[in-house]
């Protein structure tokens, strides 16, 4: 078990199973199936991301360095949250990027019945340590326990 200190971007607490990508998450490509084709499990559709392609993102503790791709990304993440097809939380090793921040904050402010804690600045060691399937607990203060 190891605990990592991060910064709270959007608050909340949650326990979920880790899903890890070491490359950037292309939000549009990853959530396209969930949004356009009714995939309620939010299966990642980004063929360029071997870590995530074909895996269910719904309800997972998504561990990533940052998001990449189209600047519609924030809007796409907001829609995924609104349709209840979002990860349980998003945990960034780096400082959050502007697109992911927009999506997370839009969901936090505009959607009353959706909580998706987002923590950033967890450090490179976090992403090196965490593996798919590990148990993740996000605390209110931005600490993340990996076991």
């Amino acid at each position: 078990m190891k605990e990592f200190k991060g910064r709270v971007v959007t608050p909340g607490t949650v326990t979920a199973e880790a899903l890890v990508t070491h490359g950037g998450l292309n939000t549009l490509a990853s959530f396209q199936k969930a949004l356009q084709f009714g995939d309620k499990k939010a299966t990642c559709g980004d063929q360029n991301n071997p870590d995530l392609y074909g895996k269910q993102m719904l309800g997972k503790a998504l561990c990533l360095p940052q998001t990449i791709g189209s600047t519609t990304g924030g809007m796409v993440l907001y829609c995924a949250c609104s349709m209840k097809r979002q990860p349980a939380c998003m945990l960034f090793s780096n400082h959050i990027d502007s697109l992911a921040a927009a999506g997370a904050i839009l969901a936090d402010v505009w959607l009353e019945d959706v909580t998706m804690p987002v923590i950033d600045c967890l450090g490179d060691e976090f992403l090196e340590y965490v593996k798919d399937g590990m148990k993740i607990t996000v605390k209110e203060d931005g600490n993340v326990v990996v076991e």
Partner: protein, 424 residues
């Protein structure tokens, strides 16, 4: 963040709950990046990235309805990215059915919302809003609330305006409250380069390939490019601006570049020179071999890599008037060489509606039409963004289109060869 009394009042809900939520979103967004204040948006017009009435974006339409119904409209008129549909572009019955009845069934509804919110005009659909023929061209130093990545990087770099790489919806919110959080590329410090890119090629580098190489290397950082003036000059001529349009779009899509400086050419580089480079900046040398390496690294994700192309898209971002004219000359000349009368692969050149109108006034329009090339205002990316098109072998010289879709990248010269002389 320290807010003025007026800003705090909006946040407290004195102008309604919806406007308070808009302000709260922008304040939280700014605080995530250490912004200490909000600054007024000073451009005449805004530009929005979301132009498509995708059925799946129901939550966005609901949010727009909240803005419209409470009068929280854009304080600026705005242009918006290209439309996803155009009947001029080749498509089969099944594609049309899916486009119109499944994917983009909300297009008319969404365009109605855009009009209610402050759409500039019926023709304001393009990713190159900064073209003279469109008229949404910010001045140096103006603060913008844009999101379209290729437009943001052009406005920052070539025009010297100031804009962060925002997300869709955030772009609109900035002009609803008339201000944006002050951080990143809005600040002098955020505009300094952390990379020096040295161009050491033996010929003029392909704009889209050079941009791709730099984007993939520096990601979201600011590069200061040295040695490109040898190939594109030291004046922001029409040709140089067109080159930088395509170069910038590739840096922004293959990486996440929001601003670049070109030594001796772009406005801040001309004014400040190497003072724009931060101490300890990393160095990236680009020669012919490096460009070849980058090009060879692109995956071919066609089911059959040897398939004959069924469609060619040029113009992502949209082509300039001069590009349309130059390509008319090039296609005609290549067809004469190959003894073909028309292009041998269905080919679409895309440009802003305003640019196409001007093009139609020239004799080039009839000449291009005679070659079989189709012109359109469509967004090639949105056209490709469906399961049927992902199986189509489409070629392009756009590195943005390559990145976001299954389209295969070729250089301009290779594209010309393919569409006029055939081949795989």
């Amino acid at each position: 963040m320290i807010l003025t009394e007026q800003q705090q009042a909006v946040l407290n809900g004195e102008k309604g709950d919806v406007l308070a939520k808009v302000m709260k979103t922008l304040v939280m967004y700014g605080e995530a990046f250490g912004a200490e204040k909000m600054v007024p948006v000073s451009s005449k017009y805004n530009h929005l990235v979301t132009s498509f009435g995708l059925k799946a974006l129901g939550p966005v339409y609901d949010l727009m309805n909240q803005l419209i119904s409470t009068g929280a409209l854009s304080t600026q008129k705005f242009s918006v990215d290209p439309r996803p549909l155009d009947k001029n572009v080749p498509s089969n019955f099944l594609q049309d059915f899916i486009f119109n009845n499944f994917m983009y069934s909300k297009q008319d509804f969404y365009e109605g919302q855009l009009k209610d919110l402050g759409l500039l005009s019926e023709d304001a659909f393009t990713c190159t809003c900064y073209m003279d023929e469109v008229g949404n061209k910010p001045e140096k130093g103006e603060i913008l609330s844009w999101a379209e990545s290729s437009a943001v990087v052009y406005a920052n770099s070539v025009l010297g305006a100031r804009c962060n790489r925002n997300s869709g919806i955030i772009d609109l919110f900035g002009s609803v409250v008339g201000m944006v959080p002050y951080f990143g590329l809005l600040t002098d410090e955020g505009r300094k380069a952390t990379w020096v890119v040295k161009i050491e090629t033996t010929k003029k580098p392909e704009a889209q390939l050079l941009g791709s190489a730099i984007g993939m290397k520096v990601m979201e950082d600011v590069p200061y490019v040295v040695g490109l003036d040898k190939w594109i000059g030291t004046e922001l001529t029409d040709a140089a601006c067109t080159y930088l349009k395509d170069f910038g779009a590739a840096t922004a899509s293959n990486g996440a570049v929001g601003l670049y400086h070109i030594d001796k050419l772009t406005p801040e580089a001309v004014e400040q020179g190497e003072n724009l480079i931060k101490e300890g900046a990393q160095v990236y040398v680009i020669d012919d071999a490096e460009l070849e390496r980058v090009k060879a690294s692109y995956p071919v994700i066609w089911k059959n890599p040897d398939a004959k192309p069924k469609l060619c898209f040029m113009g992502c971002p949209h082509m300039s008037l001069q590009q349309l004219k130059d390509w008319t000359d090039k296609v005609e000349a290549a067809l004469r060489e190959s003894d073909n009368k028309k292009v041998v692969i269905p080919t679409v050149f895309t440009a802003a509606p305003g640019v196409l109108k001007e093009f139609e006034k020239t004799d080039y329009a009839a000449r291009l039409k005679a070659t079989g090339v189709i012109t359109s205002y469509i967004c090639p990316l949105m056209y490709m963004n469906n399961p049927l098109c992902t199986k189509m072998p489409v070629i392009t010289s756009s590195n943005k289109l390559r990145t976001y879709t299954t389209a295969r990248y070729y250089t301009d010269e290779e594209i010309l060869e393919q569409i006029t002389k055939g081949g795989k």
